[in-house]
Amino acid sequence: MSNGHNDQREMQSREMTGAEMVVQALKDNGVVHLFGYPGGAVLPIYDELFQQDAIQHILVRHEQGAGHAAEGYARSTGKPGVMLVTSGPGATNAVTPLQDALMDSIPLVCLTGQVPTALIGSDAFQECDTVGITRPCTKHNWLVKDVNELAATIHEAFHIATTGRPGPVVVDIPKDVQFARGIYTPPQTAPRTSYHPRVQGDLEKIKAAVELMATARKPIIYSGGGVINSGPQASQLLRELVELTGFPITSTLMGLGAYPASGKNWLGMLGMHGTYEANMAMHDCDVMVCIGARFDDRITGRLNAFSPNSKKIHIDIDPSSINKNVRADVPIIGDVGRVLEDMVRLWRASVKADKKALHPWWEQIARWRARDSLAYRMNDDVIMPQYAIQRLFEATKGKDTYITTEVGQHQMWAAQHFHFDQPNRWMTSGGLGTMGYGLPAALGVQIAHPDALVIDIAGDASVQMTIQEMSCAVQYEAPIKIFILNNQYMGMVRQWQQLLHGNRLSHSYTEAMPDFVMLAKAYGGHGIRCEKPGDLDDAIAEMIEVKKPVIFDCRVAALANCFPMIPSGKAHNEMLLPDEATDEAVANAIDARGRELV
């Protein structure tokens, strides 16, 4: 009897409105910060947020900003990022960050309001088919029509966003469901039967991989964003593996920081704008160990000339990544951290490392390294963009620094010249290449790490896509630093026009540019302009010193291009190096066959 009474009382305490459930479910999933923008279809949830203190809501200026902020938050903490937007335009504005998170495997939970269930399908005000629109750009999505399923759906959304290969999810909640009363169910560990990502690697395969690695004479480790997604333990194990084996290591754009750039086995980033030594080593290696990377087209260059003489080991949590672009000789499906744990243990137990055998390979690498592929010509009058990044890096040494970027030349220069010794310090839009990612991402990082130095290395074109979030940074006293390499061009677009389109610079020059210093002041931030290399260090010091959002307008050489580069249709060993990149070489870099590639 008394039990029945307790049950009944508990049921009563768990009865609440849908809007209350949303807030309770967020709390129960450990959410502390929420990025969002209110609107008609989410008013009940905003009313609940108003009446509590456990979750801090960050009001952005555009829903895209909320998404990228949540992505930056997620990538710098390892926790899911959460965003809340209204129906219709709120949801459609979220599409870009959702696809961005999908391509870069970022755990992102997006809650959207929807018109009342009775109006769905009637072309109601601010109605759109949110689950239909976001279906291809999420890992999974839900339309909740019954308030009694709302809590369980939100819990499942967090589970799916954060497990396996992480990704974005959308929960679409009609307004009447937010008002309706139902029973709240706490988070349970009863995942649906159809979803069970494999985390433990096949031990036989791992053994085969270790045996193959032990016989390698020209090995290379090629690691990616999967190592960072797997957590700090995976980065630690990766470092151990490199130390044990003595193998050289390179990384994708997304994987920077998993192995320290100051480590002795580091070759720099690989791929289209990677270092000469990394790409040559990829091309000539005999055993390639791909760890949490996906053989993206920016990495491989011409596929039929990609590392032609190597055996390839591929570790990935997503079976669809295996054999998608490049055939793996030893495929291992599992979480990078778990697989590396087994790999390190097996190597310790069974392999007597003969590091001397790798000497000729390291000597070869040293010769490639001597080409100094990231070199550029210094200029005393004009700031070279590479120099600006180098000085920025020097000035931030020893500080608790996080870097975000936009997309374009500045992004590649940042990847080449800013060096990361820790994971989760580098936030960039890799897969989708979203201009406008960096500023809101920096905001998200700063919210998660209020005392850290958070810098968005930006381009003048990209930053204007989401510049309005400066207002948000000022509101929340988030002292982000927007370091703009301003050349007045869409630099990467121009570089490709020079390479492929006869130097016809169609619409890649911005004739009217805001005064970024005055713009910063207009938003209530601090503005700095720097035009001379000699003034750079002092200006950067000022930027770091100021305790409010800063826009740093760094005027750089307008026509500098990003080298080295693997031109279209070429292989890893056909890189265009900076000292060879004369106007003529640039014009002829892509031959007729390369131009035919669509």
Binding site: S194, L500, S568
Partner: protein, 190 residues
């Protein structure tokens, strides 16, 4: 339309396809929930895969399971990708390439059947001939009056094709086909 005499350049690397495409039949077991079919066919259209035939219905009501049968065409490499991509969809329980499985079982191909309803209208000799041929194809008459028949025919796709072809000159009015339902021979499940 040779408007583009000057080929444009590209930021992408595309290798020529060297493998030959094959036709395979896939069985996909899914949770019967809203949007699940859209997820499956959206994947095919979004990633540029082909659907030659699609059949779907709930098969186990208590467990809320539906079975989707898709006939698709692609190179072995693409077919492997399709399987893995389908398995990523959260409500998908499992995907079996029946064509591959039948080879593993030492069989030529999976069992495949299709049902069609075929309406034929006519008078005189044509009408008699239609009925006679339907009998030869073991098609049954499920509706008729003095001017028309509706035949129900079940069999391999090629048999249905053939039946429809010979009904054409005899007053074929309309056709409805279900698409392929398929499973492998032997005692094992999918």
């Amino acid at each position: 339309m040779n408007a583009q005499l000057q080929p444009t350049g590209s930021a992408y690397f595309i290798a020529k396809e060297t493998e030959k495409p094959e036709t395979h039949t896939l069985s996909i077991l899914v949770d019967n929930e809203p949007g699940v079919l859209a997820r499956v066919i959206g994947l095919f259209s979004g990633r540029g895969y082909n659907i030659e035939s699609l059949t779907v219905s709930e098969t186990e009501h208590e467990k809320h399971l539906s079975r989707i049968t898709i006939v698709t065409r692609g190179t072995p490499h693409v077919l492997e990708q399709i399987k893995h991509q389908l398995e990523r969809i959260v409500p998908v329980h499992g995907v079996v390439d029946l064509t591959v499985r039948s080879k593993e079982l030492g069989q030529e191909r999976p069992l495949e059947r299709e049902l069609a309803l075929v309406k034929v209208a006519g008078k005189g000799d044509d009408r008699v001939e239609a009925l006679r041929l339907a009998d030869a194809f073991r098609a049954s008459v499920i509706d008729a009056n003095t001017e028309h028949f509706i035949f129900e025919i079940t069999g391999k796709g090629s048999k249905v094709d053939q039946f429809i072809a010979i009904m054409k000159p005899l007053g074929l009015v309309e056709i409805c086909r279900t698409g392929v339902a398929a499973m492998n021979r032997g005692p094992q499940g999918m």
